[in-house]
């Protein structure tokens, strides 16, 4: 099937799909309508459990089992990357030479790194209060670590980021999520059910029962996963070379 027939097939299929999509869009309820049955119930359930951020309550309380699935997908994707990007026999690891960076950029990276790390932890900790949560805070914290690569060079980053520890951290955080769920089971209720811990007072750091715990577990898991992911890509792009120097 050469390129031309394939393009014709894409055009025909795309055209049909476009017609169906537009027809469906015209039938959808008007944008901005007021009937959100699930939304109202989710807000009521979240407020009944003293969780200020309803989205965190949906993610870590009402649909905590789904988030377990999401976390497993994330863990499997990072595992796949680690396996695919490993150093094979016909490759050797070349030492990355130190990189000379303009002083203002280096100062900026060293100043912003702790601020970004702090912001990432703040976003994780306030996950069940203000906008944020484990997923976003984990990515912000992991990106903050790589400021050292951007501001200085790869050797500086490797010194402060032992990859083995982050892989262990990834696994520990993933199992912490499951253990919290089992603790709820042992506590006499369903797996991952938020009826064991007291809900605390509304809009405080300890409110929401198990939501903060699951939030922290997901935050650590996403942060470690992104660090391991970027470590593998950086190794491939910066250090690992073919045996014949290619």
């Amino acid at each position: 099937m050469n390129r031309r027939t394939r393009l014709w097939l894409v055009a025909a299929g795309g055209g049909g799909l476009a017609v169906l999509l537009v027809a469906a869009c015209l039938e959808l309820p008007a944008f901005g309508g007021a009937s959100h049955p699930y939304g109202d119930r989710a807000v009521r359930a979240s407020l009944s459990r003293h969780t200020a951020n309803t989205i965190a309550s949906v993610n870590f309380d009402q649909r905590a089992y789904d988030t377990l699935g999401e976390m497993t997908i994330l863990f499997a994707a990072v595992l796949g990357c680690v396996v695919l990007l490993r150093q094979t026999r016909d490759e050797h690891r070349a030492r990355p030479e130190p990189e000379e960076v303009a002083p203002p950029v280096r100062r900026y990276a060293l100043v912003v790194l702790p601020v970004a790390l702090l912001t990432g932890l703040y976003v994780i900790a306030h996950g069940q209060l203000s906008p944020g949560g484990g997923f976003q805070g984990g990515v912000v914290a992991a990106t903050a670590l790589h400021l050292l690569y951007l501001g200085a060079d790869y050797r500086a980053l490797e010194r402060i980021r032992p990859v083995g520890r982050y892989e262990v951290g990834d696994a520990v955080a993933a199992s912490a999520y499951v253990i919290t769920g089992l603790a709820c089971l042992i506590g006499g209720t369903a797996f991952l059910a938020n009826t064991v811990l007291p809900y605390g007072t509304f809009n405080t750091l300890s409110s929401g029962g198990t939501v903060p715990l699951l939030n922290a577990a997901i935050g650590m898991e996403v942060a470690c996963a992104v660090v391991v992911l970027l470590a593998r890509f950086l190794d491939q792009a910066v250090e690992i070379e073919e045996e014949s120097g290619k």
Binding site: T119, P131, L150
Partner: protein
């Protein structure tokens, strides 16, 4: 008719729209500067929206964008230092204009919000935004020596 959201719409439509045109066409050096400007203009727009919707918790968004926007540009400056070494981007004027707009928006919001914790947070966002974008534009125009492996 909320003045804040209207200003945000203007900043988005005019500023970020122009950077979208700049990043999609033209030489690589202009595209990289346009990417830097897109975050430099989106952050004030987010601040205006948070004031327009009367939701102080949206300022966290502008804080994270003020932090990670310049880091994204540093990524491009670092990994494209090879291609950019040929004709380094010269965009001091535009970057200073964007930084000026950011500072003006932060000051306007500080006046509207009044003294207190919220103003302190706004000033932090403003400092990060202006400082970050100036350093990022400095990094673009020759922050990294042309590097083979990096």
């Amino acid at each position: 008719m909320n003045g804040w959201t209207l200003t945000a719409a203007l900043v988005l439509g005019g500023g970020v729209g122009a950077t979208l045109w700049g990043v999609a066409t033209g030489p690589l050096r202009r595209r990289v500067v346009a990417q830097n400007l897109s975050t430099a203009l989106a952050c004030p727009a987010l601040l205006l929206l948070s004031q327009g919707y009367d939701r102080p918790s949206y300022v966290d968004l502008a804080l994270v964008l003020a932090l990670l926007g310049p880091v994204g540009t540093l990524v491009f400056a670092r990994l494209l230092s090879g291609e950019l070494a040929g004709d380094p981007p010269r965009a001091q004027g535009v970057t200073w204009a964007a930084a000026g707009l950011g500072a003006a928006v932060v000051l306007a919001l500080c006046v509207a919000v009044g003294p207190g914790r919220a103003m302190a947070k706004l000033l932090v966002v403003g400092a990060l935004l202006v400082g970050g974008n100036l350093v990022a534009s400095r990094a673009l125009s020759g922050g990294f020596r042309e590097v083979s492996r990096g």
